[in-house]
Symmetry: C2
Subunit: 268 residues, 2 copies
């Protein structure tokens, strides 16, 4: 997807293709995480004494350092990336990219990363890790895998902004009416496609098996997938899909802030 | 693999299992890299003006920053990790792990990362990237994927030290004789197993197809793998396997530096 070309980004077919490709990344990242223990020490607030760093976990420390580096290589200039620690980001060392306007002005303010971190740590880690408990020498590796997972899931969920923007552009009058009426239920219905959602879950089961089982062992007795495919489907069903919808709804509810006042007034 | 337990690490079956698992990581990482252009700007020395940073590429800058963070989370304390910029590493923020002695004293000095970076940039990138050329807005993403690939390949190749150590332990007299005679050919023959090498290449073709093709599209017409499986097999055949052997040979040639002098003398 080329974010310098609005016509390629604000196109539902291209967005869907990008979302399907992101599933592969998320499945790969969960498989990598599954090599390690659940490692509660990584997530416990103030578990380690780190100078100048309080009320946060070791994962937070590692994620924050990583975001500092990534901000310097322009990660958070891209409209599809949302930092977990927006206050920590640094100016890029590369010349800036002049992205065209793709999303509404306030779009950076729609950020559900805290909710993502919470469900990831509480719900996903215990289900994808190979064993419950700590393994001291792997805490760094665990945090590195977690950062990959979190960034991939965050990108997937915040991509909802593009979905919302396209739907808004394609049916402005209807949305202006719903937004003016603060009709959350109506907005939710308009962005929900149960058939597509069902297909996502089916595809994730197939990908979980396809990528999680060593294909050279496929015909051996009882090959085990590194991460249970049902866990991946459930992650989407219970968290990724609902949070994507929340992003879409939050984005749409504010959409009139960045709309022509005359047009808004004209819709009754 | 538990590096705090020498008996689990210095065991050829366990090492082989770890090497097979690393293939998955390398294939995943190459597939992720294949989303982007070849991006020569990332690798060109002094392409970008970065304060206090000369005669290096943008990739070097990003890799060095990442290694600083990773060193602080203890990555380079682990005996299976080798930094690309050993001079840049920082003290860990976590308490140190007291790893038992697994490898010879000088093992950190065996480091082929410069050779790895060279073949990766020159030979692998043009073959796995989706298109030749630069795409300005993705230079950061490219460097992030490259770092993952480089670290995974580096770990795989330097794992040769464990293979060499086990082989040495299992047949000390023979190796002491070969090393004293500086018989590089004899050492190389003793560590080469053509049958195992052939199986690795076969397995990589299967993994390249298994992980590179979206399994939900497997029965559609002419599904394309994201990275050509033959490219992955060739990467192993031409670079990873020979460089692993170089690491093993370099490690073994110095092995008597860390051996009982009486024993060395007694072997004739």
């Amino acid at each position: 997807m080329d974010f310098t070309k609005p016509e390629t980004v604000l196109n539902l077919d291209n967005i869907r293709q990008a979302l399907v490709r992101m599933e592969d990344t998320i499945v790969f990242d969960l498989i990598e995480r599954s090599q390690f223990y659940s490692s509660p020490s990584v997530y416990e607030i103030n578990k380690f004494q780190i100078e100048g760093f309080q009320d946060l976990s070791f994962l937070d420390w590692a994620l924050l350092q990583m975001e500092k580096v990534h901000s310097q290589i322009r990660r958070y200039e891209a409209p599809d990336e949302s930092p977990f620690f927006p206050k920590a980001i640094l100016p890029p060392i590369l010349p800036p990219i002049n992205y065209p306007k793709l999303l509404a002005n306030y779009s950076d303010e729609i950020n559900v990363n805290n909710e993502i971190k919470k469900f990831y740590v509480e719900e996903i880690v215990p289900q994808v890790s190979c064993k419950i408990g700590d393994q001291q020498e792997n805490l760094g590796s665990v945090s590195t895998c977690d950062i990959e997972c979190l960034q991939a899931i965050s990108r997937r969920i915040h991509f909802g902004k593009f979905v919302a923007e396209v739907k808004y552009q394609n049916d402005k009058e209807n949305y202006i009416r719903l937004i003016k009426a603060r009709d959350v239920k109506g907005i939710e219905d308009s962005i929900t496609n149960s058939v597509v959602e069902g297909k996502i879950l089916e595809r994730l089961i197939i990908k979980g098996e396809g990528y999680g089982i060593d294909p050279s062992l496929r015909y051996s007795q009882n090959p085990q997938s590194k991460v249970k495919p049902e866990v991946i489907a459930k992650l989407y069903k219970d968290w990724i899909i609902p949070l994507t919808k929340k992003v879409e709804i939050d984005y749409l509810l504010r959409r009139l802030e960045d709309e022509d006042a005359e047009l808004v007034k004209s819709v009754v």
